[in-house]
């Protein structure tokens, strides 16, 4: 199982990549999550442009048999949705930390980043 060290993680199995200037973050689901879900067939995100609080739902991800909610790892404005997932949701399975990213958030409470898990802590949790 692959958990890149430069990312931060949540107990809900999302990863967070903070931009160099610290103003925004890219979010997706982890390798562990995509493997648990199996073939992903639909990523439904209709919160683009909305301010969404930490731990609130920003969308859903559907595998063949299951629906899972997606939770904001930190508060902010949902600035962008990865539109490649509309036609190719399987990118989440194939490349969860790259092409399978889900949203970009403009951060409103950067201090919340400190509450996220390190790769090591997340690996321990899923282990």
């Amino acid at each position: 199982m692959n958990f890149p060290a430069e990312l931060r993680y949540t107990k809900d199995h999302e990863w967070v990549r903070v931009s160099e200037d610290g103003s925004s973050a890219t979010v997706g689901i982890t390798d562990f999550a995509q493997n648990e879900l199996g073939d992903i067939v639909y990523v439904d995100i209709d919160t683009v442009g909305d301010d969404v609080g930490k731990d609130d739902v920003f969308g859903t991800v559907e595998a063949v048999k299951t629906v899972s909610e997606l939770f904001m790892p930190v508060s902010g404005t949902v600035a962008e949705f990865n539109e490649a997932l509309e036609g190719s949701p399987e990118l989440v399975n194939d490349d969860p930390y790259g092409e399978g990213w889900m949203i970009r958030i403009d951060l409103s409470e950067a201090s919340e980043l400190d509450d996220l898990l390190t790769a090591e802590a997340y690996a321990e949790m899923t282990g």
Partner: protein, 365 residues
């Protein structure tokens, strides 16, 4: 949790295992979608040993089954199987099942895993005809080989040709004629919408047969397939699942299974209630539908009419791997504008209404 005789094989193949009907069963061996396509294009092999097998025998076996189920078993010849349901006195479905006529006075009834105990108890309580009943579910294995290449693959394992076996017919090779098995049933039946064979065997022979079929089919693209794609395949084909589309609260007429109900073939449990339901007019009907656009219907979602009023509920839903869109089945109010193929309905999924169209199954063709 119970296990099937093939449990170790599934674990060895790295299957994702899940509890189903009290059994630890394989959901997939890597990808539900790839397994689904394998069954549509080549072949897949399913362990369905969790299914129940009850044998009814003796001079009154036929009379016993005839009053138990809605279909007409007196029409069966040796080597023929029949799909049917059995109902409560109020017409609610206890289970859907297959009746195999092995020979006069000797039948096998194949029931859903989740219902084995209640079905067998029901059969014993309603056996005034005096058939001899035995539940052999734990002693039998069942492997379903399904897909366009399935008949040829199993023919290679058998060493004789099975490709001409008609749908809903089965054969019982002589002892020793199929992999040295003492008892075996090869049945052209299935739950995928593809041709294929269901191989009933003694539990202790299941692993050998599984391995032989896997080896014989490898070059054809046959692969092990789990319950995940069994569900997507059956839903594309428009086959009902007990517990979802059929329950004790639904009768076979509203479930679209009127073709299994032979009111003229004599009395059976639930007949009076079904006669009355027919005379009174059905209040709802099971329909299949496809979603137009994005979104996946799920069991429990409400179905709405064009004006937004609730007209029913989804009982099964998934993403169709063949079509790449959401598909499902559900009950709608029995009005032509909701139930006829082509009717436009809506599926309430979270905060959205997905536009959908009622279709006559199979949905994948």
């Amino acid at each position: 949790m119970q296990t099937t005789p093939l449990h170790d094989i599934h674990v060895g193949l790295g299957a994702r295992m899940m509890e189903f009907a009290g059994f630890d069963m394989p959901v997939h061996y890597g990808s539900i979608i790839e397994e689904h396509h394998a069954v549509r294009k080549a072949a897949g092999m399913f362990d369905v040993s969790h299914m129940g097998e009850v044998f009814a025998s003796g001079p009154n076996a036929e009379a016993f089954i005839q009053q138990l189920v809605t279909n007409n078993v007196t029409q069966l010849v040796d080597g023929q199987a029949l799909y049917t349901v059995m109902c409560r006195p109020d017409g609610g479905i206890i289970d859907d099942l297959l009746v195999y006529r092995i020979r006069e006075g000797f039948y096998m009834l194949v029931v859903n895993a989740s219902n084995i105990a209640t079905d067998f108890a029901w059969m014993q309580e309603n056996n005034s005809a005096g058939a001899e009943l035995g539940d052999f579910s734990d002693q039998m294995g069942l492997i379903a080989v399904q897909g366009p290449a399935a008949m040829e693959v199993v023919s290679r394992v058998a060493g004789f040709d099975l490709t001409g076996l008609p749908f809903y017919r089965f054969m019982r090779p002589e002892p020793g004629a199929f992999m040295d098995c003492e008892k075996i049933i090869l049945s052209h039946t299935g739950y995928t919408g593809e041709p294929g064979l269901e191989i009933y065997c003694e539990a202790e022979r299941a692993a050998e047969i599984w391995s032989a079929v896997a080896a014989a089919g490898e070059s054809d693209g046959l692969r092990p397939t789990g319950l995940g794609c069994r569900d997507t395949l059956r839903l594309e084909a428009g086959y009902c699942l007990y517990g979802n589309d059929l329950t004790g609260d639904t009768n076979p007429l509203e479930a679209g299974l009127g073709w299994l109900v032979k009111l003229e073939a004599g009395d059976f449990i639930g007949r009076d209630a079904l006669v009355k339901a027919k005379a009174d007019g059905l209040t709802r009907r099971l329909v299949a539908f496809t979603v137009e656009g994005r979104g996946i219907p799920r069991a429990g979602c409400e179905i709405v009419g064009p004006d937004g009023t609730i007209i029913g509920n989804v009982t099964s839903g998934t993403q169709s791997p063949t079509l790449g869109i959401g598909i499902g089945m559900g009950y709608v109010r029995n009005e032509p504008e909701f139930r006829k193929p082509g009717s436009e309905i809506g599926i309430q999924v979270r905060n959205k209404v997905l536009p959908a169209v009622v279709r006559r199954p199979p949905l994948h063709k």
